[in-house]
Amino acid sequence: MRSLDRMAFAFGILLACALSPGVRAAAGTPDWSGVYEMVGDLRYADDESRAKARDPELTRLAKLDALEELDAIVKAHLQPWATARMNAADSSADDTGAVCQLTGNFRYPTTAGGLMWLRTPSKMLIAWAYLDEVGVRRIHLTDKHPGNLLPTWGGHSIGHWDGTTLVVDTIGFNDKSWLQTSMQPHTEELHVVERIRAIDDGSILEVLTTVADRHALTSPYSYTRHFKKVKAEFIDIESQCNAGPGDQQVWNYMRAKALEMYDAQKIDASSRENEARK
């Protein structure tokens, strides 16, 4: 009879666990759902996170996140043609972010800002605060990339668990984005591996990124970023592309270019239609 009691108690525990959203979401793997801010850039964090960010360890991590350091690392790994391309780039006209195009996965997410980590049964999603510059990343929990990937700004990411570390493999990039702010180029051969794990009792996500590109880099390089979990709500920060022209000169250039191309396409489409009618 005692075994019956124990069984009933155990059943109660199991049922409680099954009905608890947090436990159900975990499904045997770490659940990192939430809002995070990059350590060292806590402009939008709550007071508690700001206070914690002042502690010596987090300050040390923030220093490791220095943008200039990463920029120099990338420069040191460029092949000669890539260095020449970087030196020839126009800091305004060739800066995709300045003309309201995407910046890709490399510049904004390595320098500042927050992210929202989401999960579904089949994938992880990372939404960045400056969404129109980066977009929403999707990490598919599978072991193979699809064949014949079309090159895109964000590439195609797959992930698997190595213990409590999520290993993310991304390929399928186009060659339109820059690796860092000095406009270091990459090719479609770009291959990125990220090892993501929770540290500091789960309050910080550590992301170790390794970047390889046999056509643009002399050898792979790595860097680490830390993101602190915050209680604050996710803020979809509007960049100049949403809120209005921050730099009138760049804005005018972008607008004129866009409308010119649009008109050209319309004229071309109209011509094709007229030709078809004939």
């Binding site: 108690f9 409680a16 959203p21 579904t120 509007e238 270019k257 866009a258």
Partner: protein
């Protein structure tokens, strides 16, 4: 037997208390009771939504440049009215996140559950969305929208008084969503604007929403209805 009953009752009480507490957490902080997780596409047979009936003054404020063509956010009213709309709903603790394909330029929507609208924040393209469940219907209320976005692709401007109320009801076991929109803006709309459309669950992914200037012109004016 008496001994058994006391122990069994205690065990069962423990079971019920624990499971009830756990279930209450789900009701109060997450949409798990009505799990809308999934990718949905608007049904192909839907009727085109009615034209916006604007106030004369609002009509006169038309602007020439379409935010969508310039890779800017178009706002939730226009996003939700897109023909052939494909969305992904992802619940998280205290919120429902909506992801879009081809229309958002990377912008997503976050509807915060069971909290009032924020105060003292400036208007934005996406506004402030809060949500709650009314039975099996998720009601999303959006305010604090800026006045730079359009109500359609014809340049109909709205004001910063635009107020959206959306109602999402799962049907057919969650494989269909009934979606209704009610928009009020006494400064630009002649009357409240309402429509209902339906979405069906699809076994596919949302594609990366890339706003490249070159890529927009292929579909031109027919992309948005």
């Amino acid at each position: 037997m008496k001994h058994l009953n006391m122990r069994s009752v205690a065990a069962l009480l423990t079971m019920l208390l624990l499971s009830r507490a756990a279930f209450a957490q789900g009701v109060s902080t997450s949409p798990s009771e009505h799990d809308l997780t999934g990718v949905y596409r608007s049904v192909s047979s839907e009727r085109v939504r009615p034209p916006v009936s604007r106030l004369p003054k609002a009509k006169a404020e038309e602007q020439e440049e379409d935010a969508w063509k310039l890779c800017q956010a178009v706002g939730p009213f226009r996003m939700m009215g897109m023909s052939g709309l494909k969305i992904e709903l992802v619940p998280m603790e205290g919120a429902l996140v909506m992801l879009f394909e081809d229309i958002s330029h990377g912008n997503l929507r976050v509807a915060h559950l069971n909290r009032p609208h924020r105060k003292g924040v400036p208007p934005s393209a996406q506004g402030d969305s809060v949500a709650h469940w009314e039975g099996d219907v998720l009601v999303i209320d959006t305010t604090q929208l800026g006045d730079r976005s359009w109500l359609d692709d014809q340049g109909s401007r709205h004001s910063d008084s635009l107020h959206l109320v959306e109602r999402i009801r799962p049907l057919t076991g969650g494989n269909t969503l009934e979606y209704s929109m009610r928009a009020e803006d006494p400064k630009s709309l002649a009357e409240p604007y309402t429509y209902t459309r339906y979405f069906e669950r699809v076994d596919s992914e949302i594609q990366q929403d890339v706003c490249e200037i070159e890529s927009h012109w292929d579909c031109g004016d027919v992309c948005l209805k």
